[in-house]
Amino acid sequence: MNRNSFLAALTVAVMGTGLMIDSARAQEPTLASVAQATIDAAELEVNNARAAIEKGKELIATIPEDSPLMPDVAQVVQAASENWKIAVDSLQGAIDSASKIDGASNDSIAADYALLSKVNAGVAVSGAKVVQIAIAYVEAIATEKTESLDVIRVAMQDALAGSSQVRFNYDRVKTLIAQKYSK
């Protein structure tokens, strides 16, 4: 085999490997399908939070107005309302980002949209979970399960801290991606 034949064979081998990698990639879940799965999971949690809010409305009506825990109820309801808004907005953000994956001009931009969608979905999930914890707190007051209030109160505080960490990191992801394209 002379040098030219060897190089030609090498080219064919490398291109063949590339094709094999491409076909293997075709079997892997695409960025869009992974993003959609994450959005579905977030949507489920947001729907659970929506159901919890409906339940919470009924529960609040059963708490006597002169209850000493009424200020607590007001506080958690406010936290729930803020997080509900965050959850809904972030879910929409995740859907918007995911819708841009297929139309992206290159793989790198598509991956960044997928990443934004994933983190937005994470923000939505954590917001929805905070709402669920808040309603659990209201439920404990309404059903007079006062022994569980201390545990849920601490869980609520930790969840609020965790949720703000998720949002902080979402902002960090956005900034890092923006920096990538502003260079």
Binding site: R3, T11, M15, S126, Q132, V151, D158, S163, Q165, K180
Partner: protein, 187 residues
């Protein structure tokens, strides 16, 4: 090497580079992992509040244990992210890659802990840390060591005498009534 060979070799290199494209460590991806771990911790808190509502003491203890393990994973992940930032700023690609791998590892541990899979060494470490900070009623160097009000700091006799003299002078300067009463008393 003739022109055709050079052309083929060039094509080969370009194709190889396209097929095996190597990226640097993506900090945005690492930050996304960090966000995911925090989201896991929120989920753990939701599970804990659900257990609290059910009143099942064993379930509460289990959920607390999982939350502790997730907290440990978060702490490790934050350290890894800081290491990643430093390594990236210093241009140390290998160290940055290692930090990114460690972060992924922490994310996996947090996910496992949420599902109830907690490595024994981590559970022991968390338990040991909790015991180390438990209020054991004090003792020298222990948490919540109460101050000893009868303690006389070393070599402070002169300062105490000085302040006592000051008070004595103030007391002595007060007006006295009848049988030596003063309008300002040490009490």
């Amino acid at each position: 090497m003739n022109r055709l060979s050079k052309l083929i070799l060039g094509t080969t290199i370009v194709v190889s580079m396209a097929a095996v494209s190597s990226h640097g460590v993506d900090q945005a991806m690492a930050a996304a992992d960090l966000a995911e771990i925090s989201a896991i911790s929120v989920q753990a808190m939701a599970n804990l509040s659900e257990a609290a509502l059910s009143g099942d003491v064993e379930a509460i203890a289990e959920m607390n244990k999982r939350a502790d393990a997730i907290d440990a994973a978060i702490a490790a992940a934050q350290e890894s992210f800081a290491a990643l930032e430093q390594a990236s700023a210093a241009g140390d690609e290998a160290a940055a890659q290692k930090a990114a791998d460690d972060l992924k590892d922490s994310l996996q541990k947090a996910q496992d802990a949420l599902n109830g899979v907690i490595p024994e060494d981590l559970a022991d470490a968390v338990e040991a840390w909790k015991n180390s900070t438990k209020n054991t009623g004090g003792g020298f160097g222990q948490p919540y060591d109460p101050p000893n009000m009868f303690d006389v700091p070393w070599n402070t006799g002169g300062a105490r005498n000085f302040y006592q003299d000051q008070w004595g002078n103030l007391f002595a300067s007060g007006r006295t009534y009848g049988g030596g009463e003063s309008d300002g008393t040490p009490e």
